[in-house]
Structure formats: structure tokens, C-alpha cells
Amino acid sequence: MKFGIVTFPGSNCDYDAFRAVKDVLGAEAVYLWHKSHELQNADVVILPGGFSYGDYLRAGAIARFSPIMQEVATHARRGGPVLAVCNGFQIACEAGLLPGALLRNAGLTFLSQQVILRVENADTLFTNRYAPGQLLRVPIAHGEGRFTADPETLERLESEGRVVLRYVNAAGQLDAESNPNGSQRAIAGIVSAEGNVMGMMPHPERAVELVLGSRDGLGIFQSMMAQVSA
């Protein structure tokens, strides 16, 4: 099984994702250059974090028009798995692969910290190795992570079980202090209607080994591995 990790100008989590996939998960990984039109037979595409194209105009707005994104969109339309992390989530929303938008954090500051996530749906391509309600410690590092969508979209996401991860406190409960960026309904991660594209602001690739402070993010990669190679 092969993971393709897209490198945009300004990506800075592509190496972390590569290491998580290759050295920790033990799967094959290749970098996909933003100007390329070729996914190199990758089974899974990762849109990594960073500041693609300087985040000019809006985060993710320009990256969406990269040549490689046409291939990623085609891959996604065919049901191919796409994991979009942080800036990748912003790009996926701008590209229309996921609904909603990620706006400036409610507190205006860039946030780099550990958060606690609750697994809201453990029956997805990306979370099947977790238990429902399981709590994960994973870092965030973003200035624009406030998930926002219109009320109809939010209702649809909720009713279809597409809110996959939420920010919670250590007891696993929702409260305002534990929602770091003011996301609507404390949403940290969602999946597409077909379930094959997941966007999340927290960085699972930075939580795959104990030396990083947590290995709770590894399950995201193991889940994809279990499902895609099966």
C-alpha cells in the first residue's frame, strides 16, 4: 500500500507525514510535487500542513489550483482516500472536496498546543482502529482553524455521522475553553459524504511515537492501512 504526500510550495508537514507513514507505519510513501500531474499509483493521498503559497488571499485558496490538485480531485471522485491535515483541510474545503471553511481562530492568535479530541465516529476509513468516544491527545498548530459552515450543512454533517472528531476537555466533555479556535460545534475533523475524504485541523502525524509526547494519532494511519489493504 502506497501513500502519496503532496508537497506544495510552503508545505511544512510533508516530511512529518512521510516519516509517520514510512518509518512508523511501515508503508510505502512517495512525495508528489505540486506541479506534477501524476499520483504515482498512490492508494492514499495526504494533503499535509503548512502555509501553501504563503496562504495568500485565503489559506488554501491558491493551492487548490495546483496541477496536482486536479489529480487529487479525480482520485477523490473515484472514491480514493484523501487525508487532509491542517492546511490540507483548508485546501480541501477551498477545492470543494469537503464542505465549510476554516476561518481565523476566534481568539485571533496562532495556536500551537496539545488538544484532546473525542472520536465521534469510529466507523470510518480513518478512525476504525479507535473506539467510539475514545479520547486522543494530538497537537494543533494553526491560525485559521475555526470550522464554519451554514446551519443546513452542519445539520447534515451531524445527522450523517460525518463529524468525526471534536475538541473536548480531559473528561471528554464539550466546553468553551476546550474548543481552542471557536469552531462551530467544536468540530475538529469531518469526512466527505462518501466517507473517503477526511479533513482535520489537528496533526496526527505529529503524534505517532512516544518521543513526540503522544502516539494517539497513529490510529488514523493504521485505520487507513487496515481498510485500504483489506
Partner: protein
């Protein structure tokens, strides 16, 4: 074809939390501008474009807004002016 300078305002949609606008509104209140009910911070984009008419230039910029310059989920835009360039 003539050349036109088209300016467009792009602002966060009303009802969507704009923390930057809120911070500015709070600062204005501190300065004593009690009359400020709301502030929203957006972008002002100025484009020099070639088109057959001012209407065509405006239509082209509206399409640019729909496809790139504004986020249809969270922002509204309006053409602020179309000026014919010499």
C-alpha cells in the same frame, strides 16, 4: 478592447463571527466611538483588466470573485467601482 480599473470589496458575511472586526469595534468603543455597532474587516482588491465594455469588465471580475477572490461559504463581495483607463 479598452482597459478598466475594477475595484471590489470582499467582506465576511453578516452573521459569521469576524474576530478581527470585533477587536476593532471594541477598540473604537474604548476610544469613545459609542455609535459603532459592528465592524467587519475584509479586503479591497484592485484589478486592471481589458474588456470590451465597463459592464464586461465588471462581469469578468464577478466571475473572478465567484471562482477565487471570495469564499462563497463565508464572504460577500461587491464591485466598488469601474474606472476607464487611458
Amino acid at each position: 478592447m479598452s482597459r478598466f480599473r475594477v475595484s471590489v470589496h470582499i467582506v465576511p458575511r453578516q452573521g459569521i463571527l469576524d474576530p478581527q472586526g470585533k477587536a476593532v469595534a471594541d477598540a473604537l468603543h474604548t476610544l469613545g466611538f459609542r455609535g459603532v455597532a459592528d465592524a467587519r474587516i475584509g479586503r479591497h482588491v484592485v484589478l486592471d483588466v481589458s474588456a470590451v465594455s465597463p459592464e464586461a469588465a465588471g462581469a469578468a471580475v464577478r466571475e473572478m470573485c465567484d471562482r477565487l477572490l471570495a469564499n462563497p461559504v463565508t464572504e460577500d463581495y461587491e464591485i466598488a467601482g469601474v474606472e476607464t483607463l487611458p
